[in-house]
Subunit: 253 residues, 2 copies
Amino acid sequence: MSQRTVISLESIRVACKNCTLSSLCLPMGLAQEDVERLDDIVKRARPLHRGDSLFREGDKFRSLYVVKTGSVKTFAPSQEGGEQVLGFHLPGEIIGLDAIDKDVHACSARVLETSAICEIPFARLEELTANIPSLQHQMYRLLSKEIGQDTDMLLLLGKKNAEERLAAFLLSLSQRLHKRGLSPSDFYLSMSRHEIGNYLGLAVETVSRLFTRFQEDGLMQVDRKHIQLVDLPALEALVKGVGQGRDKQQQPG
Amino acid sequence: MSQRTVISLESIRVACKNCTLSSLCLPMGLAQEDVERLDDIVKRARPLHRGDSLFREGDKFRSLYVVKTGSVKTFAPSQEGGEQVLGFHLPGEIIGLDAIDKDVHACSARVLETSAICEIPFARLEELTANIPSLQHQMYRLLSKEIGQDTDMLLLLGKKNAEERLAAFLLSLSQRLHKRGLSPSDFYLSMSRHEIGNYLGLAVETVSRLFTRFQEDGLMQVDRKHIQLVDLPALEALVKGVGQGRDKQQQPG
DNA sequence: CGCGCGATTGAGCTATTTCAACCCCTGTGG
DNA sequence: CCACAGGGGTTGAAATAGCTCAATCGCGCG
């Protein structure tokens, strides 16, 4: 038993090395030596289970987290017990960047399924980046990328209808899984319809109806949490706004 | 004439120094010497006019921009000539952080009224931050803050109704202007109703009707672009969701 | 002084929400 | 091994917030 545990931890450790690499050092530029320095500060992860918290709103900010396997949702309280789901985080993705500013977490992170998560103490990472210019650059890129993604989401919530939102959501999952070497067209949702709706600014019922409709239209197969995207191109067409968006505004000047 | 020009530029230069200071070095931590080094790389600004572009979508990323006076909107094309307004940027605010990742601007920035804008070549800033840990930290905070703001916006678009959105928008302007020493309750809008609606994910007509209603309800005075917020507390109550939001979801675990 | 665009206002229209009932897994305990 | 409870999911019907269309207004500018 303890033997098994050790092996298991080590395998996580190794995998963790990989995920740190791909998240933080995407386009290379790091010397082997630096990669190891970076890796040294990454804490090995225990497996976490559905419902476990990475951190809660109000917690002091100490670390960034990288999803190795599994998935995590982040959410912030809105009013009166309600919550806004801010994101779903898949393997290779990083969590906690929004807390650097105030040094306090403004949202909570909860594990959606059994997951392995790496922890990166931010203070140590910061020291490291001060000494490795290319790593500093990666950090800037990482933060900037997060802004870009939020921007995409703003566009989604501001301009797209229910159909387009769900299609965009499915495609986003598809692409992100694909990037990690998983099937882009056959996967299991780790989040509930309710959480999807919350994330997309839609009622649960709307999400449910759309799943049904998409299936009827031959775009996908749905069996509970099991999703198969049958017609990727059609979904893409949906998102691009073949059902055109509002606002044809053109600005002078 | 050339005499006047020199004076004018110099005054901008000085003001620019201030705005750089307050944006990048908010909670101090920079030695006087470092502040000067930072200031040395900031390019002095020519006054820009309504309709002028700071950059356009697709442009190579070179610099960040800080609004000294005036205002700027950023926007991205959505589909078919439509655009999504991503933000309005007031004095002291920084523009362009989202472009670091891809080294290309994903959105355009256009000046809404005669404005003075400082330019900070990012490459030079990056060098500087590598040598000044506290400045590096400020940069991280700056980027992180931007993420936090986007998150707030997601919450707004995902969970709030028209009334709450407009109230939140007005209060945001109010607070940001106040932070710069301007009146929090009496100001001029530099953007059109159309742009406000676009930004908030509402139709122009809805914005217009809400302005009228808010005025009828004694929350504010509206005269074209001239806004006077009469009852700040009431507006705050509106945003907080006295008109409660949807979604009472509580998660197990 | 007239043109034109931004803003306002009115009146239906519709996408989406809300409310409500029901179904179907899943897991639990007898 | 089966009955039952409970939560998530689906489906239908009614309600509605906000959009669209359309007309009018009025300021600002040439």
